[in-house]
């Protein structure tokens, strides 16, 4: 009965070891999908490469479908699975700042590691920037503390706040994503750029 670690079925050390292997899978898939290239990552914002959209949403949907089905079969207790908390203010402000960082840097933390792993110097420099940013935040924390803790709404699910069942929201998300994929593929054909 999952999840294994919160239920005590595996020890903390086993959990860490498996984390390493999960990470290998994560890095492997990211790199194989082209996420080690900042050019491909930025492509979604200019139309020429929709890999970010496709991989991201397909990934989220696959996981969501998997979790919901596992819960139906009684293989996992969803109450024990971590759901990100919602602190409204800092979620938005943090997202905006990260968005700026994304379009400027062309990476996000996970992909920058992947890029650095295959020798991309811009990836390594991005990682350096991550350190600077986090040190900066830690040392100036008192300035942001109020915003950081503002508007705590608990750990609501999107389906909860829309007042619908998880399964129904899942279906709507699937349909919305497929629509976005169709538009993205059209854009890829309309705004091509050569590889470099």
């Amino acid at each position: 009965m999952g999840p294994l670690a919160p239920n005590g079925i595996i020890s903390e050390n086993t959990n860490f070891l498996l984390a390493f292997f999960i990470g290998i899978g994560f890095g492997w898939v990211l790199e194989s999908s082209g996420f080690s290239s900042s050019r491909k990552l930025a492509g979604i914002f200019y139309g020429y490469d929709a890999v970010v959209l496709k991989v991201f949403f397909t990934g989220a949907i696959t996981c969501m479908i998997g979790l919901l089905f596992m819960s139906l079969f009684g293989w996992i207790d969803l109450d024990l699975v971590y759901v990100n908390p919602t602190y409204l203010t800092s979620a938005i402000v943090g997202g905006v700042i990260m968005g700026a960082g994304f379009i400027m840097g062309g990476f996000c933390p996970g992909t920058s590691f992947t890029g650095a792993a295959i020798g991309k110097i811009d990836g390594m420099v991005f990682v350096l920037g991550l350190f600077i940013g986090i040190y900066g935040f830690a040392f100036t924390y008192p300035l942001w503390e109020k915003m950081y803790m503002a508007k705590y709404l608990g750990e609501p699910k999107i389906s909860q706040s829309l007042g619908m069942k998880d399964g129904l929201f899942g279906l709507l998300l699937i349909l919305a994503a497929l629509g976005m994929f169709a538009v993205a593929e059209w854009a890829e054909r309309k705004f091509p750029r050569e590889e470099y």
Partner: protein, 207 residues
Amino acid sequence: MKPLKLLALIIIPLGIILAAVPADKTKRFRLSADELLQEAGAGAQFISPDVVADMLVQKDPSLQLIDVRTPEEFEAFSLTGAINIPLSNLLSNEFTDILNQDVRMNVFYSNGSVTANEAWMLTRQMGYKNNFVLEGGLNYWFGNILSAQAPSQTSPNEEFAKYDFRKSASAALGGGGVVAAEGAATAPKAAKPAVASKAKKKPAGGC
């Protein structure tokens, strides 16, 4: 066929199935029937009223008394610091935080010990720990703590020690009288709202 079409062909039916199947709201049992039988038979969930009285006198903060009777009975009389969770509401989500935690010691009580023991069995089966049953319930409490009987002259010393303790405890707890209603006069009447305790076994994550 185009990958997008193939993907759509697979995930749309899956999504429809998920949307159609009703959500599973049942609470799962964590203990098997055998395990529960063993624990119930051993009786380790019972806690002596002397121990509880002592904790009340010492104002021990780790104690949390839970009255599982009806709200009317709770209003009429309740033990110091007790909150009211009627047995019928025991499985409601708003009380999960109080019943499933490892910070305080919850002690169920009722008039006898049948209802309190039922509460214990239910919460134990859900895998919750730190829940106990007040042995003898309120009936024993009144008879033996609040209006402690002096032991006969030929009783062993421990009986006298117990009597002394119970007498002072009952004084501290507003007993001394025989009737239940008087005890209520000194006990805080306001029914404490069940506040969710912070200590919960929550999965960690983030970033």
